[in-house]
Each structure stands twice: as C-alpha cells, then as structure tokens.
Amino acid sequence: MRVAFLSAIGLSILSPCLPASASAATVTIAVRQPDGSPLIDGVVMIESAAAPRALPHGPYVMEQKQIAFQPHVLVVPVGAQVMFPNRDTVRHHVYSFSKAKRFDLKLYGREDQRSVTFDTAGVVALGCNIHDGMTGFIVVSATPLYARTDAQGRVSIPDVPAGPVTLRLWSPSIRAPGNTLAQSATVPAAGYGTTLTIRR
C-alpha cells in the first residue's frame, strides 16, 4: 500500500440547490475511488454549527471474530462505550496507540467482557498484539451527522440543517494527514446530493 504522493482531493458539488428555509435536509453522497469504483467503509461526517451535540445511543459493539475486527470500521459519537466481545476460541490482546484513545485489553477470551469508552473525537486504530494481521478502526465523531459508505460507496445522512457545512471524508486508504479530507458546502433545504471522487 502506497503511503506517499496521494494528491489532495477535491469535492465537487454536482447539483447545488439553494435552501428555501432553515429546515433540515437529507444529504446523499456517493464516494468513488480514483479508478471509479465505489469506496467502501469510508466515513462521511458533516459538521454544522446548527447541528446538535452527538449523544451516544448504544450499544456499540466491535467483535473479534475469525481473527478479524467486525466491523472493520465502526463510527461512534463522542462518549460512546464500545464493547469488544471475543467470538473466537483463541484469545486476543487488543490495543490502540492512537492519540484519540490509548488502551490495552490484555489477553481475554469468550467468557470475558471488555469495553472501552471513547470520549475524544478522532480515529482510533485497533490492533491485536497476538495477531499482526488484525486491523480495525473506530471513528469517534463529534457530530451526530455521520455515516459509513455502503457496498455502493453511498451514504445518506438525514436531518442536516440547511446552510453552510463542512464535509469530512475519512478512509484508511486516503493519503492525507489523519487520513481525512475536508470540503465546505452549503446544504439547501431541499436536500443535497453529490458525488465525491478521491483524486490521486
């Protein structure tokens, strides 16, 4: 996997519509990789001054299943407590050296209950000290307006307040500081749809 020389990406707004009032709208975004294929497990977060604080609703679960983190990417609001149930017969030693949350869940098995509370926004890279191949991410979002791209690389975020917003896109494959790209936009009341393409 290449680490350097990824160009900054631009988000192009394809069909901007001016909002008629200060009501909420749904933002639909399709994300494409440079080769045109849909970006899966990307996280789109919309920051808006008009948006309320994010509140955890739970429960949030990051399973260790078949020597892998399941899901690969989990998006949680700030303050969320995430459970790390071990579904395998082997033990795992899950850790993170990320600034957003450093923790170290020493060897535990199926019978053990482990959970970690993420109270700082940011991206937490998960690893297993026993299984080098296990990687996973927990994106801790300060805004409640977030979504993970589906198999078609699409997200649909409802209840976005019309008006200026900042769109943030995170994916481990994005070569940028914090693996994140940002784009300003104005969301009209009628709703907002766009396609974002990662440029190399």
Binding site: V3, F97, S98, C128, D132
Partner: protein, 779 residues
C-alpha cells in the same frame, strides 16, 4: 613498395637463413599461440574465479541482508517498543535502540518517525535516513546509501501498530574492514573495493584505490545488464575486474562492489610455463641454426668441390671429384666425372685429328712441321744433325685413275706401314697426296740417311700388296740435311723438296741429296714463272712462222707457228727455257690458246693451199677445253679446218692411250689434220702409228742433220718414209740446212722439208715474200 631481398654470396648462407627464418617464424607462431592460449586460459580461470567469488558475495550479501532485517524486525515487532513509539516515549526508544546495537553488533540503529524525525542517528546518517522509509519502494528492505562520500548498507523494518507508526533502520558502514572481510572469503587473493556515483555521475572508489575513468564507468554501467569481466588499468598494474551494482533506496544503483584481480597475479602461475617455452624455443632455435648450417654445409661442400673441379676443367686440367652418396649431388658428381672424361677424350681425339692423317694414321703436315721445329731447336743447342727425307710415289696418279681411289688409298696405307717399318728410329709423316716425309734426328750415323733412302727404294721396287692388287710403284726421294743445307724447318723441307724434284727429273726411282745449285735453279724457275704470267697478260708473246716446203708441189705448202717471247729485260727467251716451266705450272694452257687464236687469225689471210701447223703440248691436248679452243679459233678466224694442222708428240700417249685416240678421232672428224712431231726420238712406239692414221709424220732433225754423212741415219729416214708411204701418211723432214740433205730427202721420197735451207722462222709480215720462193733442184 618492393621488399628488398638480401643477396647472398653463398648458397650455404642462403639455405641457413631460409631454414632458420622459417623455423623462427614457426617458433613465433607457436609462441604467439601459446601466449594467446595462456592468456585465454588465465582469463577464463580468473573469470571463473571472479564469477564464483561474485556469486559467493551475492549469497553472503543476501544472507547478511536477511540477518540484519531479522534483527531489525525483532525490535520493530516488540510490543513494548511499539508502545514506546506509539506513545512517543523517546527515552525508551533510544534505550531500546542502544540495546539493539549492542545485541546485534551493528554500529547504527535508528528509528524514523512518520514525520521524518530520526532518533538515534549521527550527523552523517541523519540526512539520508530521514527520507529513507518513503524512498524504499515495494517490498525492498535493503539498500546501499551514500552520504558524504561514505557508503552504508541499510535495512528498514516498519513498526506497525497495526498501521505504520515508524521504521527501524540499521546501517552498516561499507568500509575497509568490511571489504577485507569479503576478500578473506575468496580462494584467490581478490581485492574488493566500493564504488559510488558522485554528483556528476562518475564512479569513484570509496578508498581511492581505483582512479575514476571511462573504463570504470563502462564496467559498472555494463554490469547492470551483463556481469562481465573487464581489464582495468590501475596505478599498480592491470587487473581483471568484475562489478556488482548495489541498489539504492529507490532501486537505482548509486554504489557498486568492484572485485579485481591483478593481471600479474593471474599470469604468475604461467610464468614457469612461459619461461620453459621460451627456453625450449631458444634451444630449438640454436639447434636449428647449427643444424641448418650443417645441412647447408653437406649440400654446399660437394658443390664447392664441383665448382673447383669445373674451374680446373675450364683451365684444361683433367679432374674428377670424389663421389659419395647416391643422392642428387652424388649423381651430379657422377655426371660431371663422365662429362670430364668425355671432354678429355674428345680433346685427345681432336688433337689426334689435328696432328694425324686420317687415312694412314701417320702424323700430318702440321705435326711434321712441329716435330721438325723441335728437332731443329735441339740441334741448335747440340751438335746433332737432322735429316729430312721427302718421298713421292712415281705414277700414283695412274694407280688412282686406273684402279680407283680405294686402291690408291690402300696403296698409301701400305707405303705408310712400309716406311714406319723401315724407319723405326725416325718420324714418318704423310704431308698430303702421295707425299711422305721422314725426319731423322739425334746422334746420326752420317751414313744413315743414305742407308735409309736406299732401303726404301729397295723395298718399293718389290710390288706392294694393296686391296687385293699387287702394285709395282716406284719411289723418288729427296734428302736435305740440317744444319748444312738449312737451319729453319720451312727452308729445310723446301730443299728436300727440291732434291726430290731433282730425283724425279733424274728419272725416278732414285734419291738425291740437296745441292746449292738446285736452290738457285729453283729461284730462277720461280722468277720465270712470274714473268710468264706477266707476259701472257701484257702480250709479250708473238709468233714466228717457218715455211714448210712441199717437194711434190714445188712450193711453200704451209708454215709452222713458233712461239717467241721478247722479255722486257732479258730480251729473247728461248722456248726451250720457258716452255717446260709453262708446262709445269699449267700456264701452257693459256699460252697455247693464245697461240691457236693468233696463228689461225694469221693463216686466214694466206692463200688457200697454205696450211698452218701448230704445236700442242700434252697438257694442252689433255685439257677438257681443247676442242672448244680449236673450234673457237677456227670460227673466229674463218680458217677452213683442213688448213689447220695440229702437231703432237708421242708423249701425249704416256697418260693413257684411249682418251688420246678419242680426241684424235674427234679432230679428224672436224677436218683438222694431225701430225706426229719429233718422230724417231723418245719411245717411238710403232703401235701408235697403227692405232691412229696420222696425216703426217715429222722426221726429227737429228736424223736429217746426219743423213748425208751417216749411213745409219739415212737408213732410218728411208725406213720412216717407206713406213709412212705404206701407212698413207705424209712425211716432213725438219732441220734441212743444205742442198745435199735436200737432195737425199727428195731422193728418198720425202713429201716436204723444213729448215734454214729455205728460211729461218720469220715474222708474219715477211710471209708474203716467202710464198713465191722456189727450191732449185740441185744438179
């Protein structure tokens, strides 16, 4: 340009140089071939060795990379270390790196953080290492980097948590110690040197041992695609070299390992072989020089001998060369010897032919003269005598004519043998024809020449057997003595010849000694001969005419032409004196022809009854052109043939009768009269008269002079006249000087007379006065 080939004076030198040169060329080719093979072998050996070393180095290089990477990985995977990195605990990181250095035995162990910050590096490495993780592409973990002219080998191991949070970097200086370590791994003493590419792209040696240059650049650049052996010229001599490019962080080679092996060292094992070859070549060359000189000598020594022999032969010496061997030279020598023998034999034969007579085998005239000269030379020193006997066969021409030349030749041979037998103490030689000569020399018995001459005459008196015939031949001998008669050979021989001449004159079958008078007579005779030739050319001759008086017709019936010679200084010369000379020399032919013409011309003017009588010598009569001369004279003068009377003597019959008779008949057929002159003297063979019907017989004056006083003479004259009458021939009496003689002749019936009684011979102008003359009958 033409190559000048050096010239050699000797075949030996040429052969030696040719053989030696060819051998030297062969040696040179051999030496070059050996050197090329040695070179090729050394090169392939070194190539194999270097290639082996290079592959060993490759293996070691890879092994070292694996070891180093493993070491780096151990730290990069350590959870505690990762924790320290993840938490940015620098103190812990540095202590961990220090532990790694000590444990792995590496000089430098560093951590490069994602933002490029380097922990644990010195100032030399830091600038290079900071970007190293970014520059490493793909799965490469190993690279060679250059920093401030120093080379390092680096390995990179990423620190994953699980995303990369940094890189552990181990660096190993590629310095002299590392190179020596590599060199020790090889079986042959190789030298390993690190090269790096400087800012201008030129390859430099890290330790400066290899000067930069195109040679090195080409070698290293070429090694990327094809690792091959090259020859480098270095300060310490030429060396085989092979290069191994070492990849940098981004895959491009900025460094290379150069392994080299000095040419001197590569060639060193072959030095004994080369020395051995050179020594063997020198010994072979020396042997070749000696051998070719010897070979050339064996060829040229016989040639020298032949050369010397040929020179000797050229100077006339009889030489042969020793023959050894059956090769070409031997055969040449044999041929030379045969040729030499042949030349000598031919010379001997030629000399024999030059000095000997081929018919009799006796010495010839040249040999005789030479021997005589030598004998006379001896005589001059001593008081000895030399006698020369000249011999001539009497009537040899008759033998040749009647019996043929083969018989004549056989006769000559028999005579030669006879002479040799009779004169064993003398040199017998044949001078030519039927002429022989004998030299008697040394301490002579004074009577020996006479004795020998007599012995020869006695022996020759007996008929000699020749070619089945017994031939009776006589010999005449003339003898001259030295120093009494002459001192020089020519004069002596001439005097002997004169004596021989005298002997022949004196009736043949005798010998005569030379006398002084003979010589004087010979000189006079010689002078007379010269004068005769002159006379014939300048017209000193003239004719006188003596009348012949016909007693029956009582008038002058004819004239006899008589030759007169008025010599410019001597006056009138008698025919008795000059006619024999003219006959001996053959001048009589020319003179006779003149007489014939002149007489006929004169007679043509006379009355018809007057004849002209002309004397013809036997030589003239026998000559081939005689009839033609007569016809010509008659035709030119217009004289009728019947008025011409030819007078011959019976001596014409001496050389054979048949031919003479044929000639006489031819004259008769022409109408010319023929008279027999001087009848009664000489042989007076009556058979001649029977053989040919002469028109006239002339009675010799010796009978006529005494006819009155001597009864015998009168009887002879009577008999002759009677004989003539019986044979129907006329008679003329010569030398009638008085009336008594005339009366007697007239009484005996003689037809005509001639003599002073009537008239002496007169000049042509006086003839007219004589024609009417009458002889008065005496009372």
């Amino acid at each position: 340009m033409r190559l000048r080939v050096p010239r050699f004076q000797t075949l030996r030198g040429r052969l030696a140089v040719l053989y030696t040169g060819m051998f030297a060329a062969a040696l040179t080719v051999l030496a070059v071939t050996a050197q090329v093979m040695i070179w090729t072998h050394a090169r392939s050996s070194v190539t194999a060795e270097l290639a082996a070393s290079a592959s060993v180095y490759d293996g070691l290089w890879a092994l070292r990379a694996k070891t180093l990477t493993g070491t780096a990985d151990v730290l990069a995977h350590d959870f505690g270390f990762r924790t320290a990195v993840g938490s940015g605990d620098r103190a812990t990181i540095e202590s961990a790196l220090a532990t790694l250095r000590a444990r792995a035995g590496v000089e430098s162990a560093m951590l490069v953080e994602p933002d490029g910050h380097v922990i644990g590096a010195d100032h030399v490495l830091a600038p290079v290492v900071t970007r190293l993780p970014d520059r490493m592409r793909g799965t490469r973990r190993d690279a060679v980097v250059v920093s401030r002219d120093r080379l390092y080998r680096v390995v990179v191991s990423p620190v994953m948590a699980p995303m990369q949070i940094g890189s552990v970097v181990l660096a190993l200086p590629l310095d002299g110690a590392e190179m020596r370590g590599l060199e020790r791994l090889s079986a042959i003493p190789l030298t390993a040197t690190m090269l790096y590419r400087d800012g201008r792209g030129i390859w430099q040696a890290a330790d400066g041992s290899v000067p930069p240059g195109s040679e090195v650049d080409a070698l290293v650049d070429g090694a990327r695609t094809d690792r091959r052996l090259a020859m480098l010229t270095l300060p310490d001599g030429r060396a085989f070299a092979i290069a191994k490019p070492l990849a940098g962080p981004d895959g491009r080679a900025d460094a290379a390992l150069l392994i080299r092996y000095p040419l001197q060292a590569a060639m060193a094992p072959y030095l004994p072989l080369q020395l051995g070859l050179a020594l063997a070549g020198l010994i072979g060359f020396a042997l070749m020089v000696i051998g070719s000189l010897r070979l050339a000598l064996t060829i040229t020594r016989p040639l020298h001998a032949l050369d010397a022999a040929a020179r000797a032969l050229e100077e006339g010496a009889r030489t042969e060369v020793a023959v050894d061997g059956d090769d070409e030279i031997g055969r040449l020598a044999q041929s030379f010897n045969r040729m030499s023998r042949g030349i000598v034999e031919r010379e001997r034969r030629i000399a024999h032919l030059a000095f000997h007579d081929t018919l009799t085998g006796l010495p010839n005239r040249a040999s005789f003269r030479h021997a005589l000269q030598q004998a006379l030379a001896r005589t001059a020193r001593t008081s000895e005598q030399v006698a020369v006997l000249c011999l001539d066969l009497d009537g040899f021409k008759g033998v040749n004519d009647t019996l043929g030349h083969p018989v004549g030749d056989a006769l000559l041979c028999s005579i030669g043998e006879l002479l040799s037998r009779l004169a064993p103490d003398a040199l017998v030689s044949r001078l030519g024809g039927d002429e022989f000569a004998i030299i008697l020399a040394g301490r002579l018995d004074p009577d020996r020449p006479r004795g020998l001459a007599q012995a020869i005459l006695d022996a020759a008196a007996v008929p000699v057997a020749a070619a089945g015939h017994r031939i009776a031949t006589g010999v005449s001998i003339g003898i001259a003595l030295s120093p009494v008669d002459a001192a020089d050979p020519d004069q002596l021989l001439k005097n002997a010849d004169l004596a021989l001449y005298r002997a022949k004159k004196d009736g043949r079958g005798v010998f005569r000694f030379f006398e002084e008078a003979l010589d004087i007579a010979a000189r006079k005779r010689r002078q007379l001969e010269l004068d005769l030739r002159e006379a014939l050319v300048t017209g000193q001759f003239r004719l006188n005419f003596q009348p012949i008086y016909s007693l029956k017709a009582d008038r002058v019936g004819g004239f006899e032409a008589l030759l007169r010679w008025n010599h410019p200084t001597r006056g009138e010369v008698s025919p008795v004196e000059f006619i024999p000379v003219a006959e001996d020399t053959g001048l009589i032919l020319g003179i006779g022809e003149w007489v014939m013409h002149e007489a006929c011309r004169e007679a043509a003017g006379w009355p018809d009854h007057v004849r002209i009588a002309i004397n013809v010598s036997p030589l003239q009569f026998r000559s081939n052109g005689f009839l033609a001369v007569i016809l010509q004279a008659l035709a030119r003068s217009g004289l009728p043939p019947a008025r011409l009377e030819i007078e011959i003597t019976e001596s014409v019959f001496l050389d054979g009768k048949d031919h003479v008779l044929a000639m006489l008949h031819q004259l008769r057929a022409m109408g010319v009269r023929v008279a027999l002159d001087d009848f009664g003297t000489g042989y007076s063979s009556l058979s001649y008269l029977r053989s040919f019907p002469f028109d006239k017989i002339k009675i010799d004056r010796s009978f006529v002079t005494d006819i009155a006083a001597d009864a015998g003479s009168a009887a002879i004259v009577c008999a002759i006249v009677d004989l003539a009458v019986a044979l129907h021939m006329e008679t003329t009496a010569e030398g009638v000087e008085d009336d008594e003689q005339l009366t007697r002749l007239r009484d005996q019936g003689c037809d005509s007379v001639q003599g002073y009684l009537l008239s002496r011979p007169v000049e042509a102008e006086a003839i007219a006065h004589l024609l009417p003359a009458r002889l008065v009958r005496a009372a």
